[in-house]
């Protein structure tokens, strides 16, 4: 059994080697131009705004969005096994899955109507 993992290990080794090689070679081989923007915070390009009160914690609104995301995201776990084999399972499984998605939509309707999706 263990021999079947050898290609995988080999592949992982090549991947790691490539990543290390790229990082090492860039400062040596690449041209060097000074640019202020490159030293700034990653991704946004503009300086961060002043920290919020209490040490710049993530706004609580963020949690609501995150929670809603988790719950709807995880429900889709059941779609994967269904999608793999739905042609073999016929109408019964299709009806079950439609019912399941309807159930999720009921929850969605509640969240939407009661303002759970509004940012402000």
């Amino acid at each position: 059994m263990s021999h079947s993992y050898v290609p995988l290990l080999f592949f992982a080794g090549i991947g790691a080697a490539f990543a290390v090689f790229s990082v090492m070679i860039a400062p040596i081989a690449g041209p060097r131009h000074y640019n202020r923007a490159k030293l700034d915070a990653y991704e946004c390009g503009i300086n961060p705004t002043p920290q919020a009160e209490g040490g710049g914690k993530v706004p609580i609104k963020y949690y609501i969005t995150a929670m809603l995301f988790i719950v709807f995201d995880i429900e889709s776990v059941f779609l994967y096994p269904f999608a793999v084999a739905f042609d073999k399972m016929g109408l019964f499984a299709l009806v079950e899955m439609v019912l399941f998605i309807l159930t999720v939509f009921v929850a969605y309707a509640y969240v939407w109507r009661r303002g759970g999706l509004e940012w402000d």
């Binding site: 209490g54 609580i60 949690y63 929670m67 809603l68 719950v71 995880i74 429900e75 776990v77 096994p81």
Partner: protein, 99 residues
């Protein structure tokens, strides 16, 4: 590598998770301990499925993940409402209900 090692790993993770629940004071960290326990259980299910030569254990792991997510959402909602009322997520600060 023997499959039994995965069971040991899962038991160790479960023990770490329960230790976190018992020792840590921050509700969110306590909660992370519970999640660690559930995921240790998932590892055990998947390993046992492999040992028994079945797929049942893997299907069970999917259900556990969904239930754990639902639990996360309810838990975060409760912790969030407490935090907003008190600006603290420490279990020790929630002390109105002492004997």
């Amino acid at each position: 590598m023997s499959l039994v090692n995965y069971i040991y790993l899962s038991a160790i993770l479960f023990a770490i998770g329960s230790a976190v629940v018992l020792v840590r004071r921050n509700a969110i960290v306590v909660f992370m301990g519970v999640e660690l326990m559930l995921n240790a259980t998932n590892l055990a299910f998947v390993t046992f499925a492999r040992m028994n030569g079945q797929l049942d254990g893997q299907a069970i792991a999917l259900f556990v993940m969904v239930v754990a997510a639902a639990e996360v959402v309810v838990g975060l909602a409760i912790i969030m409402s407490i935090y907003r009322a008190r600006r603290s997520a420490s279990v020790d600060d929630a002390n109105l209900l002492k004997l």
